[in-house]
């Protein structure tokens, strides 16, 4: 299959969307943006590639008949989880090796090495042991990113160690922080067929009762999905870091255009788009064809963007996923003044010390952010029907709720507000649509090195 790829290199996350020649989405991938942009976009693309493979798996499973076919279909989610687990474990091992290596390299840690090394080994072993449970269908994970998952588990492990009289918490975490950087700036090669085989082995081994039929069925699915070719031919990049993408200038599009186009593709009635990402907020007006007619962005100061929520979550030792749901429990919104990312944590602490409730303060913080966004929208011309909310913060249910209220208060209840589970991919989708234009126009663009080497 021939595909085009759009990559949105954001300040916090990097997204990739693959379209086939008909413009149908075949895969989406996301990873956290890290210090090495090239790796970030390669990994996002790997993820999209993986997702596309899973689409093949799904298709193969649907086409399957014979003994074990039905059971194999039921096990698809589990297979997916097991696949993720394999990836996780591979990265975990890489992390382990890196941490040990950094112990001998860093002069800061060298003297305490004898004490730190065994503790680190034990923590990693513990994570390894508990990992499979996190990847069973239905298990609640705080994030999908290795950095977050491993980070949370490591911090918990380090805390426990420190409490039991092991090496100090901050030193352990320091080793992790250093090593995760290294791990993230390397791209682990992903042999998808092999990982699939191992994942499938995990699944049938777990269910001994099902026996050989399940194993055979899964094998067939895996083999047939692995056999399909996947060729990426045109790339277009966008996003905050797009200038640093390893793409030629012609293959880079403004994020404003991409977000507008992506949102319009998903919700064709869209006239106004609000995108709240990690470090910037954009308000975009598009015409009936998805062409941008005006826009405003907030990019000089990171106040009130996704990062802000990240800091708050850190401050409360919560996952980003948990922030919105907790705020939803509020009964009384506290008026919060700081939208400055740095001072917000201080204000949070101050208010907690005053005895105000976590959820009420959080509700206030969410409101403060959305009020800022409303004012940007007003600046760009207002809110028109239909209105589509995109970007990472759209995954936060409290943000969505507050936005709905504010739009109703200020622009009437008649405005349709679209959100989409794939909102975070709008920019990448828009970029992919531009790539499709290029493909159709016969523009012959160089594919980046990382894509050639992978396919």
């Amino acid at each position: 299959m021939r595909c085009v790829v759009g990559i949105d290199l954001g300040s916090t996350t990097t997204k990739a969307v693959m379209l086939d020649e008909e413009g149908v989405v075949v895969g989406r991938g996301i990873t956290n943006s890290r210090s090495n942009y090239e790796v970030a976009c390669a990994v996002a693309r790997d993820e999209a590639h993986t997702a596309a493979r899973f689409a093949f798996v799904e298709r193969a499973a649907q086409a399957l008949d014979g003994p074990g076919a039905e059971l194999a279909r039921q096990k698809l989610d589990e297979l997916h989880g097991a696949f993720r687990l394999e990836l996780f474990l591979a990265e975990l091992e890489a992390l382990r090796v890196t941490m040990h290596a950094s112990l001998s390299r860093s002069f800061v840690h060298r003297e305490r090495r004898a004490e730190l090394a065994p503790a680190i080994g034990a923590i990693v072993d513990g994570i390894r042991e508990r990992a499979p449970a996190d990847f069973l269908p239905g298990a609640a994970r705080k994030s999908d990113f290795f950095r977050d998952l491993a980070g949370a588990a490591f911090v918990a492990g380090a805390e426990a160690r420190a409490r039991e009289g092991g090496p100090p918490f901050e030193q352990l975490v320091g080793v992790f922080d250093r090593a995760i950087l290294d791990v993230e700036t390397r791209r682990l090669s992903r042999d998808i067929p092999d990982l699939l085989r191992r994942a499938s082995a995990r699944v049938w081994q777990r269910d001994e009762g099902a026996g050989l039929p399940l194993r055979r069925a899964l094998d067939r699915v895996v083999e047939s999905a692995s056999a399909e070719t996947l060729e990426e031919i045109v790339f277009v990049g966008t996003g905050y870091g797009r200038q640093t993408l390893p793409f030629p200038k012609e293959a880079v599009r403004s994020e404003i255009l991409c977000h507008g186009r992506g949102a319009h593709r998903v919700c064709p009635g869209t006239r106004t788009v609000l995108d709240i990402g990690g470090q910037d907020t954009k308000a975009i007006q598009v015409d009936a064809g998805g062409v941008v007619t005006s826009f405003q962005m907030n990019d000089r100061c990171a106040a009130g963007c996704g990062r802000y929520l990240g800091y708050i979550a850190d401050e409360l030792s919560l996952g980003l996923h948990e922030l919105g749901p907790l705020a939803l429990q509020s009964t009384r919104t506290v008026k919060v003044c700081s939208t400055c990312t740095v001072f917000a944590s201080a204000e949070l602490r101050e208010r907690l010390a005053l005895g105000q409730k976590r959820e009420d303060i959080l509700a206030g913080l969410h409101r403060a952010i959305m009020v800022r966004a409303m004012s940007l929208l007003a600046r760009s011309g207002g809110v028109f029907d239909e209105f589509t909310f995109t970007g990472g913060v759209c995954n936060n249910p409290m943000a969505v709720k507050v936005l709905r209220e504010l739009v109703a208060e200020n622009y009437g209840a008649g405005v349709t507000i679209n959100t989409d589970p794939n909102s975070i991919y709008m920019g990448a989708l828009g970029a992919a649509l531009f790539a499709l234009d290029d493909l159709r126009a016969g523009v012959n663009l160089v594919t980046p090195a990382f894509a050639r080497e992978a396919s």
Partner: protein, 396 residues
């Protein structure tokens, strides 16, 4: 003391405060209902010819932005982040319909922000009356005075054309008398504050004065007189505080909590430049004029007795002289500069005032605020350090 039941002044203060905090302007609506056909004219802070408006049968309403309770949603979309706060909240009030009962707005010449806000008004609300009132910076009665009287006459004419009463010297004289009476009442209140600051907090005097921008002078005089009588019944003791003059907030107003925070940090605010819309003229306005035209009285009051603010041209390099006089008059230990963030006039004035204070050995401290600031920690620190220092080491 804030309990209205135990505090003799509680009720009158609560009324004033409620009035200041009511961003729906319910009383204005009520007045309009009771006085059909008469006009409600809003005006921005600093000098506004309120007696003239009253003489034309209008209700002048001072607009001081939206304070710290108003949520700014559309207002921000009209102003870049480096512009002060008051125009945003003022626009917010208008576009959210809160000023619907108003028939017009006056934008006196305070600074370029207010000047351009007037232009924005013309574009946003073409159906409403709006006028920019150019205050002369030439203080010669024959030149600037003439121009100014013409400006006032123009505005009076325009309002009359919109349904206000015609300009009438007798009514203008009455309005000037009412205004002079209000000034006397304000002076009486100020005197209580200077002589016995423990009887009335600056934050209390503030709401009492500010409420005056929302009613006719005559009513305000009654309110002030009652307040002065009531606070004298209070049974309060002196605090171990330092005496300060607050300056710099003549236009955008600090949130009330900020004034309270200053007091809590150990400062008695014995004089300030809040609310200059009512205090811009020092002394009385003439009730007679040789020319027979009382517009000249308003012009002369502005030219000859206008208080020194950053909006007014100070010619002879005497910046700071008026402030030093104030410090002396109210026996202050020091000065607190509290200017709105991004307020060019106040902030450009400040180094000159500081130089004057420094030369006279008067201690000072300075900080910036926005009308909706919710964090006072830095301000408390600075004011606290200031009062600590005066207290621990004596003045200066």
């Amino acid at each position: 003391m804030s309990h209205p039941h135990d505090d003799p002044a509680g009720a009158v203060l609560a009324r004033a405060r409620a009035l200041c905090e009511d961003m729906t302007f319910a009383e204005v609506r009520a007045w309009k209902g009771a006085n059909p056909g008469r006009l409600v004219i809003g005006h921005m802070p600093i000098y506004s010819p309120r007696p003239l408006l009253e003489a034309l049968g209008c209700l002048p309403i001072a607009i001081h932005g939206g304070g710290d309770q108003l949520e700014i949603i559309r207002g921000d979309s009209y102003f870049q982040s480096y512009i002060c706060h008051i125009p945003r909240s003022t626009i917010e009030l208008a576009v959210s319909g809160r000023l619907d009962a108003f028939d017009g707005m006056l934008f006196p010449s305070i600074c370029d922000v207010i000047r351009n806000l007037g232009g924005m008004w013309q574009m946003l609300f073409p159906e409403k009356y709006s006028a920019y009132l150019d205050l002369p910076q030439n203080f010669d009665m024959a030149v600037g005075g003439r121009f100014y009287a013409q400006e006032l006459r123009r505005i009076a004419g325009e309002l009359t054309a919109r349904g206000a009463s015609a300009l009438d010297q007798a009514r203008l004289r009455d309005a000037i008398r009412d205004e002079n009476a209000r000034r006397a009442a304000l002076r009486a209140l100020d005197e209580v504050r200077v002589e016995t600051p423990w009887l009335i907090r600056a934050s209390e005097a503030y709401v009492a004065a500010r409420a005056g921008g929302l009613m006719l002078a005559r009513e305000h005089t009654a309110l002030l007189q009652e307040l002065v009588a009531r606070v004298k019944e209070r049974d309060a003791q002196p605090y171990d505080n330092v005496r300060v003059v607050v300056t710099g907030s003549f236009c955008e107003q600090p949130p009330l909590d900020l004034i309270v925070a200053l007091e809590k940090a150990g400062c008695d605010i014995v004089d300030d430049d809040f609310m200059l819309g009512l205090r811009m003229i020092e002394g009385d306005i003439d009730e007679e004029r040789p020319s027979g035209d009382l517009l000249d009285a308003l012009a002369a009051a502005y030219l000859e007795r206008g208080a020194a603010t950053a909006s007014r041209y100070i010619g002879a390099g005497e910046n700071g002289a008026a402030l030093l006089q104030k410090v002396k008059d109210c026996r202050a230990d020091g000065v607190v500069f509290a200017a709105a963030s991004f307020c060019d006039p106040a902030l450009l004035d400040q180094p000159m005032l500081e130089a004057a204070l420094g030369a006279a050995g008067v201690p000072f401290t300075s900080f910036k605020f926005a009308e909706n600031t919710g964090q006072f920690q830095v301000i408390r620190e600075q004011a606290g350090a200031f009062s600590d220092s005066v207290k621990l080491w004596g003045a200066a």
